[in-house]
C-alpha cells in the first residue's frame, strides 16, 4: 500500500516534485563544485606555497645553441671537465638550490606501449619508429631530473619508492620511476632495456608516482608526469674511457647546466646567489651561460595565489549564502507541498491510518527525491564535470542532514497539528 501511495503522490505532485528534485540537484552540484574548488584551492595553494612562496626562481641556459659555438667549445680538451666542474659547483652551492630537468626522450624496443607514451604524441606529431642497428625502437617521453629537483617538487611514490641520494650515483642499473599511467604496463621490479642518447642502459622500475604528480617545467606551472618515465640525472665522476662515452657525458652535462636557481626572495640572498654563481663560473672556467632572471611565470603564480587566497573568504560567503537560500527554498516548497498533501493525510487518518504510516510516507516521499538528486549530482560531478571524489563523500553528509531535517520538520508538524483532525474547518464549532 505504501508503494502505491508513493506512486500516487508523485503522480499528483509531479511538477512540484520535479522542481524540488532539480532544486536539490542544483544545490548539491553547487556544493560539490564549490567544495572541490575550495579543496583544490587549498591543495594547490599549500603545494604552491611550499614551492614558490618566499622563493625567487632564476633560469639559466647555456650559450651554445649555435652550432659553430658548440663545435668550438666541444673541441677544447677540458670542455667536459669545465662542464662537470660547473655543474658540481651549481649542485653543491650553498646560497641556492640548483634544479635541472631535461626532457630527452628514450628508446624502447617494446612496440606494444600505447602511443600516448610516445615522444611528441601529445603535440599531434606522428610517432615515428626509430631504427638503430637493425632494431626498431619506439621513442618514449622521459624526463631527467637531479636530486635537488626531486626534493624541491616533493615527488611522492604511490607504489614502490622514490629516489634517495645513492640513486644519483652512477651504477650498473638505473633506477627509474614511472608516471601513474604506466601502472597497466609495468610493475615495480620490472627490468627495462633502453637506449638513451644512443647509449644502452639497463633500468629497473623502483616506483610509481602519485596520480597527477606535477612539476614546474618549460614555463608550465602544472607539467603533469603521469605519462612520463623519470630518470635520475647521474653525475659521471669517472673520466670517459672512449670517445663515445665522452660525447655521451658531454650531452648529458649540457642538459644538466640548463636549469633553475632557487633562493630566498630577498636582496641579500639574491646577491649572495649572484656572487656564488660568479665564483662557481670562475672556478670552473666556464662562462658559457646566460642568466634569464626572475621567472615571470612564478611571479604571476604567486600573484594569483595571493588573489585566490584573499577571495577564498568571499567564495565561502557566497557558498554559505547560496546554501542557506537553497535550504530555505527547498523547505518552503516542501512545506507548501506538505500543506497540499494534508488533505490526503487527514483522509487516511480518518480511515484508520496510524501516525507512523503517514510519517513513513512523508519520509519516503522526500527521501526518494533527495536520493534521486544525490545520484544525479554524483553522475554530473563524477562523469560529466569530473570533479574530485572527496567532495562526494562530504555531500553524503548534507543528504543525511536534509533527510533528517525534512523528517523532523514534517514529522513534528504532523504531531503538533494533528492532535485534532480538522476535517471541516468551517464546521469546527
Amino acid at each position: 500500500m505504501l508503494i502505491k501511495e508513493l506512486i500516487l503522490f508523485y503522480k499528483r505532485n509531479l511538477n512540484i516534485c520535479l522542481f524540488v528534485y532539480i532544486q536539490i540537484t542544483i544545490f548539491m552540484v553547487l556544493i560539490g563544485t564549490f567544495y572541490s574548488f575550495i579543496y583544490d584551492l587549498d591543495f594547490e595553494n599549500s603545494d604552491m606555497k611550499k614551492m614558490y612562496e618566499d622563493n625567487a626562481i632564476y633560469q639559466m641556459i647555456d650559450n651554445y645553441v649555435d652550432g659553430n659555438e658548440f663545435n668550438k667549445f666541444v673541441v677544447q680538451k677540458d670542455s667536459l671537465s669545465k662542464l662537470k666542474n660547473f655543474y658540481n659547483g651549481l649542485e653543491n652551492a650553498e646560497s641556492f638550490h640548483y634544479i635541472t630537468i631535461a626532457n630527452q626522450h628514450l628508446l624502447i624496443t617494446d612496440q606494444s606501449i600505447p602511443d600516448k607514451f610516445a615522444y611528441g604524441y601529445a603535440n599531434g606529431m606522428e610517432v615515428p619508429s626509430v631504427n638503430v642497428d637493425n632494431k626498431v625502437y619506439k621513442p618514449i617521453k622521459s624526463l631527467q631530473i637531479n636530486l635537488n629537483g626531486a626534493k624541491f617538487f616533493n615527488l611522492k611514490a604511490a607504489e614502490g619508492k622514490v629516489w634517495n641520494e645513492e640513486d644519483f650515483v652512477i651504477q650498473n642499473t638505473m633506477p627509474i620511476i614511472l608516471g601513474d599511467s604506466y601502472h597497466d604496463i609495468y610493475k615495480v621490479g620490472d627490468k627495462l632495456h633502453i637506449k638513451y642518447l644512443e647509449k644502452d642502459i639497463n633500468c629497473i622500475v623502483i616506483g610509481f608516482l602519485e596520480k597527477n604528480s606535477k612539476i614546474f617545467y618549460q614555463n608550465n606551472l602544472e607539467f603533469y608526469l603521469d605519462d612520463y618515465i623519470l630518470m635520475p640525472m647521474w653525475n659521471y665522476i669517472m673520466q670517459p674511457q672512449s670517445e663515445f662515452e665522452a660525447r655521451y657525458q658531454m650531452m648529458n652535462y649540457f642538459n644538466m647546466i640548463n636549469g633553475y636557481l632557487v633562493t630566498k626572495n630577498n636582496k641579500n640572498d639574491i646577491n649572495r646567489m649572484m656572487q656564488e654563481l660568479e665564483s662557481i663560473s670562475k672556478d670552473a672556467s666556464f662562462d658559457g651561460y646566460t642568466f634569464i632572471g626572475y621567472n615571470p611565470h612564478v611571479k604571476k603564480y604567486q600573484d594569483i595565489s595571493v588573489i585566490l587566497q584573499e577571495n577564498k573568504n568571499l567564495i565561502k560567503i557566497i557558498l554559505t549564502m547560496s546554501c542557506i537560500l537553497n535550504i530555505i527554498l527547498i523547505l518552503f516548497i516542501s512545506y507548501l507541498q506538505y500543506k497540499n498533501e494534508r488533505y490526503y493525510y487527514n483522509v487516511f487518518l480518518i480511515q484508520g491510518a496510524k501516525k507512523s504510516f503517514i510519517i513513513t510516507l512523508k519520509f519516503l516521499e522526500i527521501m526518494l527525491i533527495v536520493l534521486a538528486a544525490f545520484l544525479t549530482q554524483l553522475y554530473i560531478l563524477n562523469h560529466l564535470l569530473k570533479i574530485g571524489e572527496f567532495a562526494t563523500y562530504i555531500k553524503a553528509g548534507y543528504i543525511g542532514v536534509f533527510v533528517i531535517l525534512s523528517y523532523v520538520i514534517f514529522g513534528t508538524n504532523l504531531l503538533l497539528n494533528n492532535k485534532e483532525l480538522k476535517i471541516d474547518k468551517e464546521e469546527e464549532v
Binding site: 499528483r12 490526503y344 480511515q351 484508520g352 494533528n418 476535517i423 464546521e427 464549532v429
Partner: protein, 225 residues
Amino acid sequence: MLLKLQHIQKSFINGRTKRAVLNDINMEISKGDYIAIMGRSGSGKSTLLNILGTLIPYDKGTMIYNNQKVTQLSFDQRSEFRKRHIGFVTQQFHLLHDRNVYENIKLPLNFMKLEKDKIKKEVNKVLEMLDLESFQKVSISKLSGGEQQRVAIGRAIVKKPDILLVDEPTGSLDEESEKSILDIFDMLHSQGTTIVIVTHNTAVSERCDKNYFLKGGKLSAPIIY
C-alpha cells in the same frame, strides 16, 4: 448500550478567549439506533460528531463503548478505534480525487490489511448495494455531488462499522439526490446499521428514530419516534 457519553465538555481556544462548545453532554447510542442530532450552524453538532468518531479529544467526561471506558486514548489508539468501529461520512465527502470509485471505497480495507480477494468481495458488495457498479472505474472528479456522496457512504460502510457517523448528508445535494441518499440510510438502518446523522434538515431528522437538539452547548433529551 453501544456507545455512551457522560458529562462531556469541549471548548476551543481562539486567540486569548476560550469558548465552551459542548457543555455536559450526555448521550446513549444503542445498536441499531437511527439518530439525528439537530442544531443551528455553529451549535457544536460537528464537534459532537467528531468526538463520537474519536477524531478530536474532549476536555472532560467519559465515553463508554460496549461497556468499556475509552475515555482518553492516544492518537494511534483513536486511529485503531476508528478503523475497527467507526464509519465516517463527512460533509465535503473527503474523497481522493486521484483515484477511481473502486479505489476510494477500498481505502479503509487497505488499512485493515485484508487479503486481496476479501477486499474485492467486500467492495463489490458495496458497489452493488449502492448501485455504483458501472462507476467503479470512473474518476471521482467526473461524478456528480450525489454520486460522490454515495461513494463516501460506500467507503464508510465497506468495513462494516458498528456506528456510521454522517455529517450534513444533504447539505450540497439537489432534491432528487437528497432523497436517493436518505433512502440509502434507511436501507442501511433496516439492515441493522447504527447511524448517527448531524443535520439541520428536518427532512433528514424525520426519517430517524431518535432526535436530539443541540443548543448553547447543551444536548436536549431525545425525542423518540
